[in-house]
Amino acid sequence: MFGRSTTIEKPRSFFMKNPSVFIFIAALSVITVVTTLLSEALGLGLLSTSFIKLLGKTLCLCLIAIAMDLVWGYCGILSLGHFAFFGLGGYMIGMWLMYERTKDIVINSLSSQVLPPTPIEIQDAIGTQIFGVVGGSEIPAIWFFADSLSAQLALVVLVPGLLALLFGWLAFRSRVTGVYLSILTQAMTLALALYLFQNDSGLRGNNGLSGLQNIPGLEEIPQSFISIWFLWGSALALGLGYLLAAWVVSGKFGNIIRGIRDDEARVRFLGYPVETYKLFIFTLTAVIAAVAGALYYPQAGIVNPVELAPIASIYLAVWVAIGGRGRLYGAVIGAALVSLLSSAFTGGQVPDLPLGFVLLQWVDWWTVFLGFGFVLVTLYAPQGLGGLVDRFIRNGGYK
């Protein structure tokens, strides 16, 4: 349907075939370096720490948008549940951040007593400190690894990955496709969000995990520096994610998943195990989403079940659709543009528009315009903004 190439491709190097990778990584590096130079921490101080954090978070959103583009734009699976993996990634890293920080605080406060604290006392105090807000004091079993950074980092990948593997295996083997699958993924993220909303879920109910911006062991370092580190970390992850995604969609593998998108039955008749390919893409993108979440939430400072609500995943689809499906830079453009514009308009940073008879307050009306604008994009620019870029380049190239 789109992205088909009629030219016969000669064997060329990966970067030659994908010039956008070069441009993208160059642009990403420039943005990161310029931002760093303008930041409060290292350079001229023109950009506030909160703005740096916003940029860092936006890079993470771009990364999950790439995942969404892979699974939807290239493989044709409209998942309305990828924010569940994003949120889970945040929860997994958040458990370590919160546990370690609380442990430091508890040891500090217990050190004043006459007898040095025993491990059990420390555990009890941590339990009360973290779970007192939901009326508990025991540390649930799922926090077993919370003391170890490497274990929790492994869980960032493993938990969402296994969930995606299980869900995808169940869904694809019973040939659930199209809108059915979309609704099922939506149900999955809703179920997860509702589960996390409970106080006895072991993850603090609707309070979520908070104070994540404080990195244990780095209390001395001001947030302005930490924000830069996370910006670089997010940029690195985004760059690697882009490379990985571009590599996956190039070559034969990319052709097969595009084929699945365009006509699943035909690819199956050609003898390819369609379900395995779909499962691989679904799980891979879930892992990418989880990594993005693990980088996002330490910058946001708090992760709670609201983040996993179905609406978040639908907005993700909106970003990718506006940016342009089936092209990785489209997803990045869409996510960056729409999320930055949204936070600017709903954050009250854009002056209200007097229309003579009525004052247009963006805080109230932005969502209305976004909604209708999105309908217009779907109707008249199904390829999104990326499609416009393509058309422009093609016209320029052939003239």
Binding site: L78, V114, L115, P116, P117, T118, P119, I120, F167, L170, A171, R173, S174, R175, V176, G178, V179, Y180, S182, I183, L184, Q186, A187, M188, L190, A191, L192, L194, Y195, F197, Q198, P310, I311, I314, A317, V318, A321, D364, W365, T367, V368, F369, L370, G371, F372, G373, F374, V375, T378, L379, P382
Partner: protein, 650 residues
């Protein structure tokens, strides 16, 4: 004759303005005997005082009690006599208690008002109840009965029994009889009498009955070397199963049969108390950073006699071998407890049955709500293969239409009657506009209709917020829908839910009729099966699509009014139901009314059953329900009622 005496007395009274003590023993005389406790009553002693008054056998005691309770009794200071009185702007008008003659006005200094406190008044109240039970006014009898039903004691059983026979009001008589049986259970004179009363209620599910039986079975846990013969023993407790070791230890300790359990804070305090120069028993305090180290030090302290001994686990084990733990009934007679136990067993069986019935009614009502919310979605999806994400917002639109109609027409009955078709019309129009402007152009890209309608959905939701505010507004049901249909203490259903059930049933039948018996239905079914073939037969699929979409949206409007009647109307009203509606459609099978009905029934009853297992947690119920749906899809990917044949495979 008596009146004659009173007249004479009053004449005497008028002349000498004093009561002659020589008169026959009347109320006044009895009151004088009890003057001290009447003047300064206390909650503790007033019961005896009232008994004295009744035992004297004189007339007019209830009337006096009533006046006393209402603070209308005054003490004339000059002769220390009680009178009825009323305060007339500072002047007290006193009336003789026995004769009823007006004594005249006195200044408030000459007389003292008797003011019983609220505790005393409540005792008087309950004493009065037994007279009110035979009051000529049925209202008074009803109130008295209500007081007794809430709180009664042994003394009231007899007056209640006496009043049953003379009761004329049938419903009051039934209540009196029931209460008489209940009180007999608690306060009956003989054991057989009480056992019979318990057996009388077999299979009854009243909450009052359970409240009467449960105290009979209250137990206390006892520890002893062997089972006593003379006690009514409920059961023996197994350590580790019925009673934990820690609880058993605490029980032993409280009886002085074992040393107190070692509390960590006490242990640590003892260690700190014995520490000197940062050391205790030669060990540095800094080294005591494990539980084992602390326990070891404490043991050393105990051996040195510096700390209280404690029981180690082994010692506890030996001690527990020596004693048995058991529960005894507070009620001494086993015949009563056996009867109560049997009674409660049969009651519990009846209660479970009734709860199942109630659950069934709840599930039915939830299912009809889901059906109304989902059927529009199912029709559009079935015919056009289009999922309308804005369906929830159409539901909201219908609810707000109802709200606006109520703003204009204050009569709730008329406004609901107008709101239902109007909501249908509004959302029908909205659906047709959406179909013409958006859906039609995306017919061959189903995933994109999902997204485009989602854009509509967020825009509409925000528009509603801008227009009506974020505050939820009420959609008031007409007063004839207030209240519930109550079968007994357990089974009940509100009239609104019954009305919604009938609404859903009506729409189910209407849609079945339209699809199976009308020209439009024939064309819709043709387009559903094969649009190309249908159009070559002269059917205009475009028109059918438009009408179907309008119909589906219109029903959403109706569902909105129905949901708004029991839930508050807010911009998120539709969003709360949309996922359940999707689930209903997916489980039921696409494009089939019967399928949607089955899906709604399944989702509704499932949710209620899960809630029943874990009533405090509706969130968990929804989680488990969604997990169930995901698993269900494994076995029937196309829903309960799947379309078979070539049309099913696209």
């Amino acid at each position: 004759m008596r009146q004659l005496v009173f007249c004479l007395l009053s004449v005497v009274f008028l002349i000498i303005t004093d009561l002659t003590p020589a008169a026959a023993r009347n109320l006044q005389a009895v009151l004088m005997e009890n003057l001290k406790s009447i003047e300064r009553p206390s909650r503790r002693t007033v019961g005896d005082t009232i008994e004295n008054l009744f035992n004297s056998g004189v007339d007019g005691v209830p009337r006096f009690l009533q006046k006393w309770r209402d603070k209308k009794v005054w003490l004339l200071k000059e002769n220390k006599t009680l009178f009825y009185g009323s305060d007339k702007r500072g002047d007290i008008e006193l009336i003789h208690i026995v004769t009823g003659k007006v004594l005249g006005s006195f200044s408030s200094r000459a007389a003292k008002q008797i003011k019983p406190n609220s505790g005393v008044r409540s005792v008087i109240d309950s004493a009065l109840v037994r007279f009110q039970l035979s009051d000529p006014d049925p209202k008074v009898r009803g109130t008295a009965l209500q007081t007794l039903e809430r709180n009664a004691d042994a003394k009231q059983l007899k007056p209640l029994r006496d009043s049953v026979a003379s009761e004329t009001d049938l419903s009051l008589k039934a209540r009196k009889k029931r209460l008489e049986r209940l009180l007999t259970i608690s306060f009956g004179q003989s054991i057989p009498e009480r056992v019979i009363a318990i057996k009388h209620f077999e299979g009854d599910v009243g909450i009052d009955l359970r409240a009467a039986l449960n105290p009979l079975l209250s137990t206390t846990t006892i520890v002893a070397a062997e089972l006593p013969k003379d006690k009514n023993i409920a059961r023996q407790l197994q350590i580790g199963i019925d009673i934990s070791k820690a609880e058993a230890h605490a029980k032993l300790a409280s009886r002085g049969l074992a040393p107190q359990p070692l509390v960590k804070s006490a242990r640590d305090a003892a260690i700190i108390a014995n520490a000197a120069d940062g050391k205790v028993e030669g060990v540095a305090l800094g080294a005591l950073n494990t539980e084992a180290a602390r326990e070891k030090i404490y043991r050393t302290l105990v051996n040195a006699g510096k700390a209280a001994p404690f029981l180690n686990p082994r010692g506890l084990e030996d001690l527990l071998q020596k004693y048995i733990f058991f529960e005894i009934y507070t009620e001494p007679d086993p015949r009563i407890t056996d009867a109560a136990l049997n009674g409660l067993t049969s009651i519990n069986a009846a209660v479970n049955l009734n709860q199942a019935l109630d659950l069934g009614l709840d599930a039915l009502s939830l299912a009809s709500i889901y059906f109304l919310a989902a059927i529009g979605l199912a029709i559009t999806f079935g015919v056009m293969r289009v999922i309308n994400m804005a369906h929830g917002e159409f539901i909201m639109m219908g609810a707000y239409t109802g709200y606006l109609v109520q703003q204009l027409i204050p009569n709730y009955t008329i406004s609901i009657v107008i709101a239902l078709p109007l909501a249908f019309a509004v959302t029908f129009a909205a659906g047709v506009i959406l179909e013409r402007l958006v859906i039609r152009h995306l017919m061959h890209r189903p995933l994109e209709t999902l997204l485009a309608t989602f854009g509509i959905s967020i825009a509409l939701q925000q528009l509603a917020k801008n227009m009506f505010g974020t505050q939820a507004v009420p959609l008031t049901a007409p007063s004839w829908l207030d209240g519930s249909l109550i079968f007994n203490d357990i089974v009940s259903i509100s009239y609104i839910r019954i009305a919604i059930f009938f609404l859903a049933a009506a729409f189910c039948l209407l849609l079945l009729y339209i699809l199976r018996r009308t020209r439009l239905g024939l064309e819709v079914r043709a387009v559903t099966q094969n649009p190309l073939m249908a159009s070559s037969m002269g059917i205009n699929p475009d028109r059918i699509n438009m009408l179907t979409f309008g119909l589906g949206s219109g029903i959403a409007g109706i569902a909105g009014v129905a949901i708004g009647l029991f839930a508050q109307v807010s911009s998120e009203l539709g969003a709360n139901y949309i996922v359940q509606s999707f689930m209903t459609v997916v489980v039921g099978g696409v494009g089939s009314i019967v399928g949607t009905l089955a899906g709604a029934g399944m989702i509704g009853s499932l949710q209620k059953v899960i809630e029943w297992f874990n009533p405090s947690n509706t969130l968990a119920a929804q989680t488990y329900m969604i997990i169930f749906v995901i698993i269900f899809i494994q076995f029937r990917p196309r829903g309960i009622i799947a379309i078979k044949g070539r049309a099913a495979e696209e």
